[in-house]
């Protein structure tokens, strides 16, 4: 077993873990169940987190390689008291159905809008290419990203 300190959603956390384990598993075992497991193959994007500001599929990251790094999950960007405009936009645009893809979708959107506050439709589609959604057909999700971009522009 190994031990390490991680900074998750702004708080320091110490975990003990199997050296071969993936970050997704360790996060989920320690209560960060908002990070979803949809495939464990790097195909679905349900497990997406921000790792030192980079967008990664946490199922593809060795936990040991993330020691000391900054991790942000969907809970780290906002909650009911101060929802992030992206979260607001997802609700307003009706971009959430079963919700299983939603945490990953929101983080991919967050990452896109950080560097590109006014993305064009094809840029949005490209940015979400790694996030599978089986419910929505992506139409309302793309609407939500556009809406979020407008909302953030207003702030």
């Amino acid at each position: 077993m190994m031990e390490g300190i991680f900074r998750i959603n702004g708080k320091e956390k110490r975990f003990t873990f199997n050296p071969r384990s993936r970050l997704l598993t360790v996060l989920r075992e320690n209560g960060y169940t908002e990070v979803k497991e949809g495939c464990k193959e790097g195909e679905c994007g349900a497990c997406i987190i921000l790792l030192d500001g980079r967008l990664v599929n946490s199922c593809q990251v060795l936990t040991a390689s993330a020691i000391g790094k900054e991790i942000i999950t969907v809970k780290g960007i906002g909650d009911i008291h101060s929802p992030h405009p992206i979260q607001e936009a997802f609700v307003e645009a009706s971009a959430v159905q079963c919700g299983f893809c939603t945490p990953g979708m929101i983080l991919s959107t967050y990452y896109l809008l950080k560097d590109n506050p006014n993305p064009k439709e094809d840029e949005i589609r490209k940015a979400l290419d790694g996030n599978l959604c089986r419910c929505t057909g992506y139409v309302k999700i793309i609407d939500a990203v556009k809406l979020a971009s407008r909302k953030m522009g207003e702030k």
Partner: protein, 696 residues
């Protein structure tokens, strides 16, 4: 009345955007053990022996010997064992569970278990099953006098269509937890049908209903995939919980989920068409064959819907419709959005398209010559009672898509296709009558709680049902409560399937709400229940397959435009236009979500979702091999609704959940035909298939 359709903020979204909502894999129960399934590696074999290594303390094997009741899962045909009993009939069939506190140790134990098989001759293709006469069920019915009509026909044309497997890929894999406490079991899990699970567990344990409780947890997509399958794994974990005395969790990983859960039935459909001297269709002979896999399950009912949908939106005077579910040693097929209708609609729409091309007609005009009208008789001799608004639907979709001009100007590698379709609302035949769905409204102070076994699985049921009740009671939606169903609290409203939740269950809630409104001042706590009764005019004979197969129909038209790469034969979809009559939408934006999701799944089915079985084993076993549409695959979907209130639906609503799926594939495939001027007889339409067709 119109205002009900106005979109509102969905009530269950807040928890989902924060990541606060807990799916079954996110819930820890105290002392919970994990389980992993050991499965058959053979398509058909006798199990000679199972060698179990010495188990570390706290680890258990759970198998058929631990089942106190019947080792068969209650579905429609009750033939799937919870655990194999001496023989296996498909690769992936569950044999036993290894249960214990540590996942790694469980994997190590599984690795060490040795099974000796005696292989038996498997049936691995539909053709082989047909040759050997292996079917679960066969149906046949006629209308008019098909034999005579064929005799009189000037010309007889034959055609055949095939469709492939489709895997649901709900983003949340299957999962359940079983708990045994004080002589009672509780199952938590992702599911569509809490009372199906309850019934199956009662039979597996041989226990009565007071001792079995089922609680649905927030479900991450289902699409039919969580209709009958959860009953199997619920039975397994419950037996494990009984044996270990601890809560037992069984969650599939994606590969396992793809490999062993039910899929959409592959199909082969043969058509014989009789034409008179004027090129008019006088008679149709349709034979639909579905690959049922190793166990019957729900396949017979899927076949029924396929057969009752076989003539699509057309009125043909003479018919012979037959079909069978073939028994093969492959993973069982089961419920999937559309439930047999997609295979049937693909076939009939493509057939009509082929006939139009042969006769030199514009497909749309040719189709309209046969379109059903109000008061027409259906293939089973039922009556189309509601107003048929196909002409209006078509006018809209033509306008949106510019179909006629584009069809006329179509050139090599660019084409446009159109599909017309319907969907029978609610259960087939006697289904609704025998289930007798029940709902209850409970007033407590100023709040009213909805008690129903209909689940939310992403389709918007919580918002839609609350909207109906809030409107019928004239109270704010925030005063209408709804929680995930718990069989201890909710009556059996029937399963969450067959696009029946709004029309049937919503209808019951509407009438309960109206009664409660009358009685509102009687007290602080009032309960009102309603039980479903079929409208009196509906007649159905289950033996003869005669009468009204469905109480009502929803309708639609899709147009798809494509461009095909002349070198790679990859299909690019340029536009998708869709118009539907679903009666009245309870929430227009939720319906758009159903439309967009349904069409995207349907286009995936038609193009990239390839799944083959070779020697009884699936070739595509991971999300890397089995591709579903991403945000890059299809352009924006333009959709519209034509209003057509249904007298018995709440606020005029009919069915909507499956309808958008069924029309997409034929619209796409006929667009490809239009672009390449070659007949398409199969989905998925892959570049490899196109190459094959084009090189003759």
């Amino acid at each position: 009345m119109k205002e009900i359709s106005k979109p509102i903020r969905k009530v269950d979204d807040q928890d989902k955007i924060e990541g606060k909502v807990r799916y079954i894999a996110d819930i820890e129960f105290e002392g919970m053990l994990f389980a992993k399934t050991l499965r058959s590696g053979r398509p058909r074999a006798r199990i000679r022996s199972i060698e179990i290594p010495e188990l570390p303390d706290g680890y258990f094997i759970v198998d058929a010997n631990d089942i106190p009741g019947k080792n068969r899962v209650k579905m429609v045909i009750n033939d799937h064992p919870f655990f194999a009993e001496g023989e296996v009939n498909y690769i992936g069939e569950p044999i036993l569970l290894v249960v214990g506190p540590k996942k790694e140790t469980i994997f190590e134990i599984i690795e060490k278990i040795k099974i000796r098989y005696e292989d038996l001759n498997p049936i691995l293709t539909m053709e082989d099953a047909e040759r050997k006469g292996k079917t679960f069920i066969d149906y046949e019915f006629t209308k008019g006098d098909p034999d005579k009509a064929f005799e009189m026909a000037e010309k007889v044309i034959e055609d055949e269509f095939r469709t492939g497997y489709q895997e649901h890929i709900y983003l949340e894999p299957q999962g359940v937890v079983g708990i045994c406490e004080d002589g009672k079991v509780t199952i938590y899990g992702a599911m569509q049908c809490p009372y199906y699970v309850k019934g199956a567990v009662m039979e597996g344990l041989g226990w009565d209903e007071d001792r079995v409780r089922v609680v649905q947890t927030t479900t991450g997509g289902a699409f039919g995939g969580k209709e009958e399958y959860p009953s199997i794994i619920a039975g397994q974990v419950v037996v494990a919980a009984l044996k270990t005395g601890r809560p037992v969790q069984l969650i599939f990983d994606r590969d396992e989920d793809i490999m062993v859960t039910t899929k959409r039935h592959p199909s082969v459909t043969e058509y014989r068409v009789g034409l008179d001297g004027n090129g008019r269709i006088t008679v149709l002979d349709i034979n639909i064959k579905l690959d049922g896999g190793a166990y019957g399950g729900l396949s017979g009912v899927v076949l029924q819907r396929a057969l009752f949908t076989a003539t699509g939106v057309y009125n043909i005077p003479n018919l012979r419709v037959r079909g069978s579910v073939l028994k093969t040693n492959k993973v069982p097929s089961g419920a999937f959005r559309g439930f047999g209708a997609p295979q049937a609609i693909f076939g009939i729409e493509m057939l009509m398209h082929h006939l139009a091309e042969k006769l030199g007609r514009v497909p749309l005009d040719f189709k309209m010559d046969y379109a059903l009208k109000t008061k027409d008789t259906t293939s089973t001799g039922g009556i189309i009672r509601g107003e048929v608004k196909l002409p209006e639907i078509i006018k809209e979709v033509e306008k949106m898509s510019d179909y006629r001009r584009k069809h006329k100007e179509s050139r090599k590698f660019r084409g446009i296709g159109l599909s017309l379709f319907l969907h029978g609302c609610g259960f087939t035949g006697k289904g609704e009558e025998s289930i007798k769905g029940k709902v209850t409204l409970r007033k407590k102070g100023k709040d009213v709680e909805i008690l129903t076994s209909s689940v939310e699985m992403g389709q918007g049921a919580t918002t839609t049902l609350r909207k109906i009740v809030s409107k019928s009671l004239s109270i704010p939606i925030t005063q209408v409560l709804y929680d995930n169903p718990d069989t201890e609290r909710v009556p059996d409203s029937g399963p969450t399937v067959a696009s029946r939740t709004v029309m049937i269950v919503g209808g019951l809630l509407d009438s309960a709400a109206k009664e409660l409104r009358e009685r509102w001042d009687e007290g602080d706590e009032i309960e009102v229940s309603k039980i479903y009764k079929h409208p009196g005019y509906i007649k159905w004979d289950d033996k003869l397959l005669k009468g009204d197969a469905y109480p009502e129909y929803s309708w639609g038209a899709n147009v798809v435009e494509v461009e095909i790469d002349p070198i790679t034969y990859e299909i690019e979809v340029l536009g998708i236009w869709a118009v539907y009559d679903i009666g009245v939408a309870i929430d227009e934006r939720i319906i758009q979500g159903q439309i967009e999701g349904g069409i995207t799944q349907g286009l995936g089915y038609a193009t990239i979702e390839v799944m083959d079985s070779v020697d009884g084993e699936l070739v595509q076993r991971t999300l890397t091999d089995y591709k579903i549409p991403t945000s890059m695959d299809f352009p924006k979907i333009e959709s519209k609704l034509v209003r057509n209130p249904y007298k018995y639906g709440p606020y005029g609503a009919k069915c909507a959940g499956e309808l958008p799926f069924v029309g997409a594939a034929p619209a796409l495939a006929s667009a490809v035909e239009n672009a390449l001027s070659v007949p398409i007889n199969r989905i998925p339409v892959t570049p490899e298939y196109l190459l094959e067709v084009l090189s003759g």
